[in-house]
């Protein structure tokens, strides 16, 4: 039993050892980095600016007259301004719109100046902006395509933060930084997702994890024989061996 476990552990780990290293390194990264920090929650503020009901001079009735198909209507803030946000279903996609709630003036899609002002309004740091770009198609892997079109505003910080502001709603739709990007890589390596789909149920992971379980069981068997069995009922041989190894 002892010998079988030894052979099994030795040979299995020749092939699986590296994956165990990858699991432990990626796992350690993920448990040490707080998930709220990874999500970028500390990058942005959560303003509680209240709507001023007296400023809503453009009525909902008027809005519905102009946009009879408006859905998911809401009233909220765009910095200090009161705004309406709603969507209009079209044949191909859903169009999102934003209006000034005082005048009814259309505010979307946002121009670069407003996007920059919004990013600075939300961003908690005080570093300067390094890059601003409008993304309309082919979003980077860190932004879901449903958030397009969006402005990406990068700030000059060692964690390379990017704030994504929807060009339609003016809301922060994503906040990313180097540690998020690294976390994403770590997770992919952890679940052995070496393709492009984010899947935890891949075949490679199954077989490696199955053989790894066997390797771990054989390792635990060895630990049992070499530590527990020895210290509990084989005190004498251990002592004599200790003397022996001291001599050699």
């Amino acid at each position: 039993m002892h010998k079988t476990a030894r052979t099994l552990h030795k040979w299995l780990m020749l092939f699986l050892g590296l994956q165990f290293v990858i699991w432990s390194v990626t796992g350690t990264y993920m448990v040490f980095m707080h998930i709220d920090y990874i999500h970028g929650d500390s990058l942005i503020s959560n303003p509680q600016t209240k709507i001023n009901p007296d400023k809503l001079e453009y009525s909902l009735a008027k809005l519905l007259q102009t946009y009879p198909k408006a859905e998911q209507i809401s009233v909220g803030k765009l910095m200090q301004q009161d705004v309406y946000r709603f969507s209009i279903p079209t044949k191909t996609a859903t169009q999102q719109l934003m209006l000034n709630a005082q005048t009814g003036e259309r505010l979307s899609p946002l121009n670069q100046t407003t996007a920059i002002a919004l990013a600075q309004y939300y961003y908690l740091g005080n570093e300067p902006i390094t890059d601003v770009s409008l993304l309309t198609d082919n979003p980077p892997f860190e932004l879901s395509a449903r958030h397009l079109p969006a402005w990406r505003i990068n700030f000059d910080h060692f964690s390379a933060p990017s704030i994504y502001i929807s060009a339609d709603s003016g809301l922060v739709v994503a906040k990313r930084h180097a540690f998020w990007r690294l976390f994403d890589w770590m997770f992919r390596f952890h679940v052995m997702d070496y393709g492009d789909a984010e899947e935890i149920d891949n075949q490679l992971l199954f077989w490696i994890a199955l053989f790894s379980t066997l390797a771990a069981v054989s390792g635990l068997t060895l630990t049992y024989f070499r530590v527990l069995r020895r210290t509990t009922n084989k005190r004498k041989p251990m002592l004599s061996k200790r003397k022996h190894s001291g001599v050699t």
Binding site: G17, W23, S24, V25, Q48, I51, I200, L222
Partner: protein, 241 residues
């Protein structure tokens, strides 16, 4: 090399059992039915088209002036009727602390979700056949949704997987379903994340300590394998004696 072996041995004594639990729970995640594990067994997520009689809607400005100050007003429908959801305090995410008022969009009356309405909302999200067995209003933390920070109705159904539907008390938002499948998956998540106090998080001190020791275990193992390779200890015994 002796200290590498000793390190490997004693690290395995400390983290060995947990390492096995990591592998077994990892295998479970690989094999589990994700729809079932996410509580979608009896989830009805089709939404019937609701026709809002727009001429009956009260003006948002009137509603906003009537209640305490709000950061947003959302027109939404619950059980086929339009409501304004006023958010007075908002959290960064839905599950975090919020303060809401739900207002009937036709008559402007504030609506408190009571047992009956909570049960109706739960039924609307439930695709099973079973009857409701019990309904309770819970204050966080919730065993099934440890990250939910707001008061929540729990509506239990008498089906064979003991489905519970969770409806946020102030907003009527569906928090989710839980049942025997999700609770089994939760056990494996607890084991994998060493979340033995059900915080719903993997950033806890025990797992950090174990992860750190596991690093020593795997790197000492790696050095051991490399050493054996160097000393030509990996030989296939092709011939018998």
């Amino acid at each position: 090399m002796l200290w590498v072996r000793k390190l490997h041995k004693w690290a395995s004594v400390i983290v060995g059992i947990q390492l096995l639990l990591w592998l077994i729970s990892g295998l479970y995640f690989n094999l589990m039915d994700h729809n079932k594990a996410q509580g979608r067994t009896h989830l009805n997520d089709t939404h019937a088209d609701v026709v809002i009689e727009t001429h009956r809607l009260l003006e948002p400005s009137t509603i906003l002036a009537t209640f305490k100050p709000s950061v947003s007003l959302n027109l939404m429908t619950l059980l086929g009727k339009p409501y304004y959801l006023l958010t007075h305090e908002k959290g960064l995410y839905n599950n975090l602390n919020h303060d809401y008022t739900l207002v009937d969009a036709y008559n402007g009356n504030p609506v408190v979700i009571d047992t009956t309405m909570a049960q109706q909302l739960a039924k609307a999200s439930y695709s099973g056949e079973a009857e409701i067995s019990s309904t309770r209003l819970l204050t966080p933390p919730l065993d099934d949704f440890p990250k939910q920070h707001n008061d929540t109705w729990q509506i239990n159904f008498a089906d064979n997987i003991t489905t519970s539907v969770y409806i946020e008390a102030q907003s009527g938002r569906l928090v989710g379903h839980s049942d025997e499948h999700t609770r089994l998956a939760d056990v494996f998540f607890m084991l994998h994340f060493m979340d033995y106090t059900n915080q719903g998080s993997f950033n806890n001190i025990p797992i950090m300590m174990f992860a750190f020791i596991t690093l020593w275990l795997t790197f000492s193992g790696l050095i051991w394998v490399i050493d054996m390779l160097k000393r030509n200890r990996y030989r296939l015994k092709l011939k018998g004696k």
